[in-house]
Assembly symmetry: C2
Homo-oligomer: 458 residues x 2
Amino acid sequence: MSDLLPQLASLVGERHVVSGETLRDRPQDFWNNVPTPARALVKPGTTSEVSAVLALCNGNGIAVIPEGGRTNLSQATRSDERSILLSLERLDDIETPDEAGLTVVVGAGVVIQTLQERCAASGLRFGLDFGARGSAMIGGALSTNAGGFQALRYGVTRDMVLGLECVLADGTVLSHLIPFRKDNTGYDLKQLFIGSEGTLGVITRATLRLHPAPVTRNTALLSFADFTAVARTLSRLRRDLRGTLSSFEIMWPEFFDFNVEALYGERRPIGSGASFYCLCEAEGFEPDSDGALFEDVISAALGAGDVADAVIAQSSRQRDELWKIREDFEAEQNFFNVMIDFDISLPLKVMDKFVAEVDAALKSEIPASLGLHVLGHLGDGNLHVTTGLPTPEHASSLKDLVYGLIARYQGSISAEHGIGILKRDYLHHSRSPAEIETMRTLKRALDPRNTLNPGKVI
Amino acid sequence: MSDLLPQLASLVGERHVVSGETLRDRPQDFWNNVPTPARALVKPGTTSEVSAVLALCNGNGIAVIPEGGRTNLSQATRSDERSILLSLERLDDIETPDEAGLTVVVGAGVVIQTLQERCAASGLRFGLDFGARGSAMIGGALSTNAGGFQALRYGVTRDMVLGLECVLADGTVLSHLIPFRKDNTGYDLKQLFIGSEGTLGVITRATLRLHPAPVTRNTALLSFADFTAVARTLSRLRRDLRGTLSSFEIMWPEFFDFNVEALYGERRPIGSGASFYCLCEAEGFEPDSDGALFEDVISAALGAGDVADAVIAQSSRQRDELWKIREDFEAEQNFFNVMIDFDISLPLKVMDKFVAEVDAALKSEIPASLGLHVLGHLGDGNLHVTTGLPTPEHASSLKDLVYGLIARYQGSISAEHGIGILKRDYLHHSRSPAEIETMRTLKRALDPRNTLNPGKVI
């Protein structure tokens, strides 16, 4: 189809079609600084334009790869020379939030942090937060069902969606932007498009749930001698902090000590030698009493012998320093020459045993492996496990080893990053042949010409 | 297929196949005391047996109607002479709840109240509660995505599901009984089966989320002069009761006065003449302070002038009396000769106007209509609107009138009761032709022979 580019230009405007050298000069994504291969990058400005672009490409057998902030961790927005990249970045409007109904309608191209700030200005909280907040877009978060730091309180992205508008491969627009929570009018179609990584439809717009914005914030770093004490403390905080617990991030000591050393050297924020460290944060509505309640609950956990040591942040600077231990991965990225990371969910009761077994197996079976960094969102059963190798040699056997153990512990091989290309060949470790075949059936039914993000997920 | 019954008996055991007069003597469901038409009622005891029954029926072109507690409000379990009824009642096991992980694995045949009580015995709360708790089963609640009294705190049934096992029309078993919240391993298949009323698969088992069981319970009946004061008070209670608000049930005065008169005559629990009455309940974890907090927050709402009058239940007997006003529909059922009810969701900001418009339209266009009873779960945007007629004449124009208004206000024609047969012809008031066609595409893909609950939903 030689006149594809002019046709695309006629649909979205010439300046919204990028091709040739300009496109090749753009890195494929945040993680892969390689030229972007694609016939063109198309930036529609409305849902109708998205629909027209899809109808054109679908009719001509041209693959379409939707993209947002391009910080996906599973290569879900990778394109090739024959495909069209479809950026949702121009669908970036935020309607006025409904303060009584606690909802907001947004376009897929809205950056997470922009929405967070817009909501905060109205005394509201959009409950999704993760490291890439400054670049990741709502459409990408919806397509990957992103999780993050506050899922234990506000849920994952799926839990925040009331209504959705999306476009099928053939250009059909499905719009159901309801602002209420209860709706049983036939099949809940939106669920198919949330988390399916752009393979079933292109999300253009959503009605999202909001929450009243808390006005207090209390943060502590806790250390523990054993895992059961960590789990008991999570239960205690969930209960005694009266619903204000918003984060409970666990770090195994190998990662914690590594990052503390890298960031602060000798200036450790808490004593060494513990078996686990947890960063916990509560956000509430009572300026007069939340701080005292937080201290009381932490004191009770210390008194009960569950918490070995505790540091409560006394300033926002100290809070930022504590969060940096959890959020800053620069030293880690430099340390692990060939970095290999796993984003997994596990039943709480086997988590500690699983990590010990991975550690032992790596040491005995992949002697070249460079340590094991484990951290995660304990309240969601979600761990991030990172290791590395001096060279790519053994990478494949290392992955087989860890994915095999995840399967044996009945865990999920992708908690919040999705499958994309990187994990496609491992999907069978978490899903049965019957489930994968059912996914293929759905893909064939909704996208019979395999137009949308082909080769991703399944 | 003349030897169907012996074949079914060979799959599930002879005593688990009911047919002939025994079956006909059984009422079709709780609401329709008519004989049950079907070739047989089959009661498999395991997921494998469900699979075998479905494979047999699907292979022979025989429709299968799944049923649970048979209290469905949209005739979603109606059978006919040619179909097989598939009861899940024998899949009634409850695994030991995981107190640390806050999960439980249950069979589809578990009665809601049985699960509530089993969880309560372990200090846990299963957050689903509605009137039919004593008969409705988990499988039915999942298939209809049931809502109920505590959705504002715990969500609807969909929000309580972590993992699901179900069987496709051809007998394929899809099992993904994960006990954690974060899982992005391909398409979230369970969402297709939740709320699709048995038309896409038969749910056999689920992993459900639990919560710590509250230990305090405080209940109040509030009256209001206007709707904005009701909405403001809901926001206030959500915020100031520190996450303990579990119910906020609104009643318009025509229903409230009617039911108070029917239940208690002159002994009114609260002064008359208000524009709205709300039953609110908080359940918390602090026996020493929750009662005082509840009184303080209600007092503040009175002091602010939003609440006109308030009665706080002083005993469990008084609490039950207050709840009875909301839950007891016996007098209403006797009063409305031909009862016509609507289960709808609406944006909060148009709710009051909608009700006023329905009231005026009924009075002017359907003069035979016998009043308008409105109540609902305000926190979920969900109203139950009931009216009646002396005879079935005008029933169809009354429905057209109300559904037309729901569509005009962009509401949902089914908030929590589903579509079944009763609302199938009205589905287009809430869903577009493109959405309904996409539902049909999914139905054809997963159940190409139209074996599962044919004629329901779409």
